[in-house]
């Protein structure tokens, strides 16, 4: 048997340390995703239309009748942060379909044989999913201003709500990625995506306060990350009295923890897509 020698090649190069690589790799992936959107922004534009319809049609009808008890907060004020969270959720939850598409093409394999860690790849995807939703956020702000929602426009508040939108969407995009890794085919994914969106949306404080829910739904709403996202957004988006149920620290804590846990799970499952 011949001996196994390691052939030193002239092009052996030094690498940054593991934590630095993690950040750089995640950003490389995220940036690639954002470039794709720049090459073809159709998806972003169509997604931005959805919240507009909810605010202008659904919102106006319910606000006019005053059917939902939102205390001293006008219904449109109450609704605007909810719709922002909802529209971000609706697009993030289908993020996994792109991952299945990449797997079917073979692009996924390319990334998985690169030296980038699985968790950095998944974090990059999550970050891209989060950043995409900023376009929807901008849309909701513009429409909300136009229809007279009392918005906070001071830079800290704007920055804070951008951050909440990014983290929340990153969480749901990663959730979607986890589902994609489990179901593996587009057909199954579409069905499951639909089934998941509605309970997440209705068992949250997005379009009505938790107080009017039956007890079992209340319990569900309290473990739903979307509730915390909406809660943080109400505090950061709306001027005047603070209508929030839990502190911003808790909201951020829940959303960040959810994202980290989901990224850890996704990093475990992601390689299975290429097997």
């Amino acid at each position: 048997m011949t001996s196994l020698e390691r052939v030193e090649r002239p092009a052996v190069w030094a690498e940054p340390s593991a934590p630095v690589r993690f950040v750089l790799d995640a950003w490389t992936i995220a940036e690639g995703e954002l470039r794709k959107l720049r090459h073809d922004p159709t998806e972003l534009i169509t997604r931005a239309v959805q919240p507009l319809l909810w605010l202008l049609i659904f919102g106006q009808v319910l606000a006019a009748r005053n059917v939902i008890p939102t205390g001293n907060l006008g219904y449109m004020d109450f609704l605007a942060p909810g719709i922002l969270a909802q529209s971000a959720l609706f697009s993030a939850i289908f993020f996994g379909i792109a991952v299945i598409w990449e797997r079917d093409l073979g692009v996924l394999h390319k990334y998985l044989v690169s030296p980038a860690s699985r968790s950095s790849l998944v974090t990059g995807k999550a970050l891209a999913g989060g950043l995409r939703s900023l376009v929807q956020a901008a849309m909701v702000y513009v429409v909300a201003l136009a229809i007279g929602v009392h918005l906070r426009l001071d830079p800290p508040a704007l920055l804070g709500s951008a951050l909440v939108v990014v983290i929340g969407s990153a969480a749901f995009a990663t959730f979607s990625l986890v589902i994609a890794c489990i179901v593996r085919t587009r057909e199954r994914f579409m069905g499951i995506g639909q089934i998941l969106t509605m309970p997440l949306f209705f068992a949250s404080s997005a379009i009505y306060p938790i107080s009017i829910m039956p007890d079992w739904l209340k319990a569900l709403a309290q473990v739903n990350p979307l509730t915390y996202q909406v809660d943080a957004l109400r505090e950061l988006m709306l001027a005047g009295s603070n209508p929030s149920a839990s502190s911003l620290a808790i909201d951020f804590g829940v959303l960040s923890l959810t994202t980290v846990v989901l990224i850890a799970i996704a990093a475990r499952l992601y390689p299975r897509l290429a097997q």
Partner: protein, 269 residues
């Protein structure tokens, strides 16, 4: 003689099927080695284990001196891989694809741009560098993929059916490209193919797999000679696998494989 890939009792089972069955094989440094075999013989499964995409059920292998189980990241850093399917991202330009690789492999900053330019020149894609890859022809995509897989100058390059779905002219171009690579970089290349002319043309040695086992090993000429006087590699293939037309092995050529190959062919074609 140095060995680039050392495979020891490598085994992979899927439920009831043993796709790769206690495979032993050595690929020498600097050679072009062809893994042949009918659908379902275990070629792609073997490659997937070697490039750390698929954990083996048993056995192990060393690639470029690193253990595929314990040193997976170092293996990944030392290899390039061009899958059977597409690997360049159609929604990005050629240059962006190459830059993504340069960044993921953490090539030194100062070398990134020169290497990308060099790769684009080498593949004759300078003029198309800033076009989205989805507008490329199949041959252009393959050349870009090989350039992308070679950007970090890997010690071992894996090519899974590199010319599937290409027309004869594009195939010849890819062959020339592979030969140039080996001449200029001395890269060890492991490729799988269904085309015996391709194997005879490119490979120093070939191994024929059948039902997860290696049934023949040698230079294309040696295997042809073993099949009988005046025989070629095509005859050797039938001789060693017992495969005649319309007699594919049970585990291969399933609906999914067929759909996948055809889809790839359509995209590349």
């Amino acid at each position: 003689m140095a060995v680039a890939i050392q495979i020891e009792h490598l085994t992979r089972r899927f439920d009831t099927v043993t796709a790769v069955n206690a495979l032993d094989l050595e690929v020498r440094t600097g050679e072009v080695f062809g893994l042949l075999g009918p659908n379902g013989a275990g070629k792609t499964t073997t490659i997937k284990m070697l490039i750390t995409l698929l954990p083996p059920s048993g056995g192990t292998a060393r690639v470029a001196g690193y253990d595929i189980l314990r040193e997976a990241r170092l293996v990944r850093r030392s290899i390039g891989y061009v899958p059977q399917l597409l690997s360049s991202d159609g929604a990005l330009t050629a240059r962006e694809n190459l830059m993504t690789s340069a960044r993921l492999y953490h090539l030194p900053m100062a070398e990134r741009q020169p290497r990308i330019d060099e790769a684009l020149t080498f593949t004759g894609l300078e003029g198309a560098a800033d076009r989205l890859v989805r507008t490329f022809s199949g041959g252009m995509i393959r050349r870009l993929e090989i350039a992308q897989a070679m950007l970090h100058r890997p010690e071992v390059l894996f090519l899974d059916e590199p010319t599937v779905g290409l027309d004869p002219i594009a195939r010849r171009a890819v062959w020339g490209h592979i030969r140039d690579l080996r001449a200029s970089e001395g890269t060890t290349i492991l490729l799988t193919t269904h085309y015996m002319d391709e194997a005879a043309e490119l490979c120093n040695r070939v191994g024929i797999m059948h039902l997860g086992k290696l049934v023949a090993l040698g230079t294309p000429a040696e295997l042809a000679a073993q099949a009988g006087p005046g025989k070629d590699l095509d005859d050797a293939f039938s001789y060693f696998t017992g495969a005649e037309l319309g007699e594919e092995s049970e585990q291969g050529g399933q609906y999914r494989d067929v759909a996948r190959t055809r889809r790839t062919a359509r995209r590349l074609g």
